[in-house]
Symmetry: C2
Subunit: 151 residues, 2 copies
């Protein structure tokens, strides 16, 4: 892999895309996360999950969101880090054991701050897709991005 360039506010352009590596989701990961943060039968137990709304074991949406963040941190090389102010999130379909997830991020808007000239808010769409290309999570997140520090 080529050396990764570190990006600041002025380096970004609307429409620019970033593609992540893949994360392989396992049943053990789904169960471990659920035990800690979302202990519901359809995330913990195969038999109970089959009888549930999800019709089979599904990861917690917050697990999908956390994996998305991991993939984002390694694919969107912001010099000031990935600092989220907030956003909108949807889970059109669950993620499952065996899924290979990847994140495609696209810059939607760049708004320099009026009051703080060293920074801006960048809105990024992050689509988390499985191995079939299905969108399992759609997020529009507002990131705080700094301008390149003066040398």
């Amino acid at each position: 892999m080529a050396q990764q360039q570190v990006l600041f506010l002025d380096d970004l352009a609307v429409g620019e895309e970033f593609h992540s590596a893949e994360h392989s989701l396992t049943e053990t990961q789904i169960n471990d996360f659920a035990r800690q943060f979302d202990p519901q039968p359809f995330h913990l137990d195969n038999a109970a999950a089959k009888e549930s709304f999800f019709q089979g074991l599904a990861a917690s949406g917050w697990h999908t969101a956390a994996i998305t963040m991991k993939l984002l941190v390694s694919s969107l090389p912001l010099g000031s880090g990935i600092i989220g102010a907030g956003g909108e999130i949807q889970w059109p379909r669950p993620t499952r054991p065996g899924d290979a997830l990847r994140v495609i991020s696209k810059v939607l808007e760049i708004k320099p701050s009026r009051s703080k000239p060293d920074r801006g808010i960048v809105t990024v769409e992050c689509l988390t897709r499985n191995q079939d290309g299905d969108v399992c999570q759609r997020m529009e997140i507002r990131l705080l991005v700094m301008r390149r520090p003066e040398q």
Copy 2:
């Protein structure tokens, strides 16, 4: 604790509130989550965090979201489980080691489904507050809630 009543769509009322137990956030928890899902210096290393935007170690926003889900699962006793379709999330301030987090959930809207009479979408505001009452996360989440199954 009194026996918890299980709630379905018709049992909920706009304005109704649910209060969670507390979760004590530790530095170890913050580091463990960050190593797995958000490996950035301000979530992993005290010294680096002091020099960062956060001016001290802060939990990943997704960690705060995951803890919120845990507190929600044990405080909002929906008979069909907590099934999120999506929502809007904001992190007005970070969560820190030593914080005692709790979630106050309020029903904002109840929309029976037109096409599927056995269910509806309930919008719930979840405020995650620290021990000083500061809101660290505000979420408006759309939950799929089933009607009570016929006997």
